[in-house]
Symmetry: C2
Subunit: 396 residues, 2 copies
């Protein structure tokens, strides 16, 4: 069996107000072409299909078309789940009709215990959930109230869910899991992450690979770079499109999909890159350089998008200048414009945390550190996580 | 062929903040039972399936369940269109998968020219549209620009659309149309409407029955009472649930569905009533009567909902009284509470126009009348209609 693993499409997302829909359609066309060229037996979309609980109508129409092209026009099965950005109730609409053409889409925990069966593989589709969802599910299953109360973390819930899935295992088949969480390597293993792919991405609540040891392979969504994959068999495909400056700094390293091959000899994955239509170019230069024709004419001006930080910038020398207009004249679309007043580059990097790029939980964590000089305790982290879960729930 | 005709479910609607979802589910159960008892060949839902372009998640889940029960569990075909309350783009999601089980759902004009064919009937599904939608459609069809510009009213657009449908007619079959507009009898015919079912309901833009003379039968949505049906063969089913005080004043007259029977001898329709779970009782009495146990104990207190108008009411005599609380103690749920200061009942009726019950276009019309003493001219009406179309378009 051969599967294409992708995730985090975030259809409908914008980058500082600029729609990414054309970029997402361009990436989708490549995903579909790879699926056809590789003759895959299915496309896995591991959550965060939409960018928000209530996507705009254009996003709804675009996604419908993409899913039709895969599933109806090319007859390729889809194995999909909802992520934390999707509304489970909204995305669930119509799924029972979609099952008729092997488009499987789970958005609720209770749907995760009916694996999709092929001759030699069981595929479990576990959507994103929060601890309250798990408590409600296990309460309905008749679990005693005192046990239900103990499900306060994703880790505790995942342990129960995986052990229930293992009970359904057919020993003659391989076992795949598709889910949508932050998963890090086990504590005793070396963390293979670079500073650019910190394990903090995606919130404080993390799971570790050992919780998934019963599965032969786990296809994850949630973290947008495949470089954050915690092991050889528990893997992120990453998002097909760059969503922010931090990802743009990685150039196009790691933007693509995985082809996962499952046969008697084992499970292998092979990376297939996706190239952007409009790239996002990050420039950090001083004002004379940015305005120098020799410099900017070497850039993909009037073609790609630019995120520009002007170094060593003294605003008082440019009071009469419309900085953005001057740069747009030379470069075209500028999706982000920053000024670096301070000359200390290290300090720039340290203060360059864009709160759009980190999770709400991390924002609280960083704020707490700044004010008190201490880290949040685990108990405090759980409280923060629960509050944000409640807030997100309200919106869905 | 036997069809069940219903429309205007408005799933997700509230009545002064009170959710009607339980009431709508109760009505749906009866609709499904009628469909099963009558062994119908299809359920027609003639638009305004949801109450708003962005229904809440509970409405989405409730509708999904209803449609599954009809189409997947009971294998009954569905013939549905979007109305002016639905978002065409949002409701369109998934329709291509639904077609596999004979759930037909059109939300765009271009989809209306592929009739559903049975052995002896052609069913045309024409969703609600506005003149701009029609202009865009005919422009794409290659119509010369000067002709496109002339499509400024629903009437002009409908004439073009119907003539294009007639070209597709199979002469050996009967021709049904399902659509969602205000249609009135021809000008030379007597208008069979009572004051309670004024033709003004649903906006100023109206069509007349002669525009549909090529069809054997037209199943309409948009106007919430079947009593407004403009002819024997151009008919409203009405909404299955009462949505406002005006409808409550009609008691339960006319709330239900039509069973439409199509055979060689002709087309007949038979009304099947739907009974409410929680009724909406309108009381217009003076304060002593409302507080009199002999009076209120005869009412369905603590069971149905009440809309109460206190007649001959002098607030200065009751400054210490929490009127709503006193009435709730006696009656239970009060969804609307009004005071009639003036004793002239005629004047009460004249001033009792609730702007929630009339269309935005009518509100402008009434305001203009009040200020200037004149009616809006036809040209002015068209301008007002176009403005509201633009505003609605923005929201979808």
């Amino acid at each position: 069996m051969k599967l294409l693993h992708t995730a985090d499409w975030h259809i409908g997302r914008t980058l500082n107000g600029y729609s990414l829909l054309d970029e997402q359609k361009h990436a989708f066309d490549q995903i579909l072409q790879i699926a056809k060229d590789e003759h895959v037996d299915g496309v896995v979309i591991a959550g965060d299909i939409y960018d928000r609980a209530v996507p705009n109508p254009e996003a709804v129409a675009a996604l419908d078309k993409m899913l039709r092209e895969i599933n109806l026009e090319n007859k390729i099965p889809i194995y999909a789940i909802s992520g934390n950005h999707d509304s489970a109730k909204r995305l669930n609409y119509g799924r029972k009709w979609m099952e008729y053409t092997n488009f499987h889409l789970n958005t609720f925990i209770n749907e995760a215990f009916t694996p999709i069966e092929t001759d030699d593989v069981q595929i479990f589709l576990l959507p994103f959930f929060d601890p309250l969802d798990a408590r409600v599910y296990y309460q309905k299953q008749g679990m005693p109230e005192e046990n239900v109360k103990n499900i306060t973390t994703i880790g505790a819930a995942m342990q129960l869910i995986v052990s229930d899935m293992v009970k359904l295992f057919d020993k003659n088949k391989k076992h795949l899991l598709i889910t949508h969480f932050a998963v890090t390597p086990n504590k005793d293993e070396e963390i293979p992450l670079t500073s650019e792919t910190t394990s903090k991405v995606g919130g404080l609540a993390t799971l570790t690979t050992d919780q998934f040891k019963d599965f032969d392979y786990v296809m994850l969504g949630h973290i947008h770079t495949r470089l954050a994959s915690p092991s050889e068999t528990v893997r992120y495909s990453g998002s097909p499109v760059k969503f922010n400056i931090k990802e743009a700094r990685l150039k196009n390293k790691g933007k693509g999909v995985d082809i996962v091959n499952i046969d008697d000899s084992g499970i292998t994955h092979e990376f297939k890159p996706i190239t952007p239509k409009t790239d996002l170019v990050v420039l950090e230069e001083d004002w004379p350089t940015l305005c120098d024709a020799d410099f900017y004419k070497k850039q993909p001006i009037n073609q790609d998008w630019f995120a520009i930080t002007i170094k060593n910038f003294d605003r008082s020398e440019h009071v009469q200048t419309n900085i953005r207009a001057e740069l747009q004249k030379r470069y075209g679309t500028i999706v982000e414009l920053d000024y670096q007043i301070d000359q200390d580059k290290n300090e720039l990097e340290n203060t360059a945390v864009n709160i759009n790029e980190i999770s709400p939980e991390e924002t609280v964590d960083k704020f707490y550190q700044t004010i008190t000089g201490k880290d949040l305790s685990n108990k405090q982290k759980t409280i923060v996580e629960n509050i944000f879960n409640e807030v997100e729930r309200e919106n869905k």
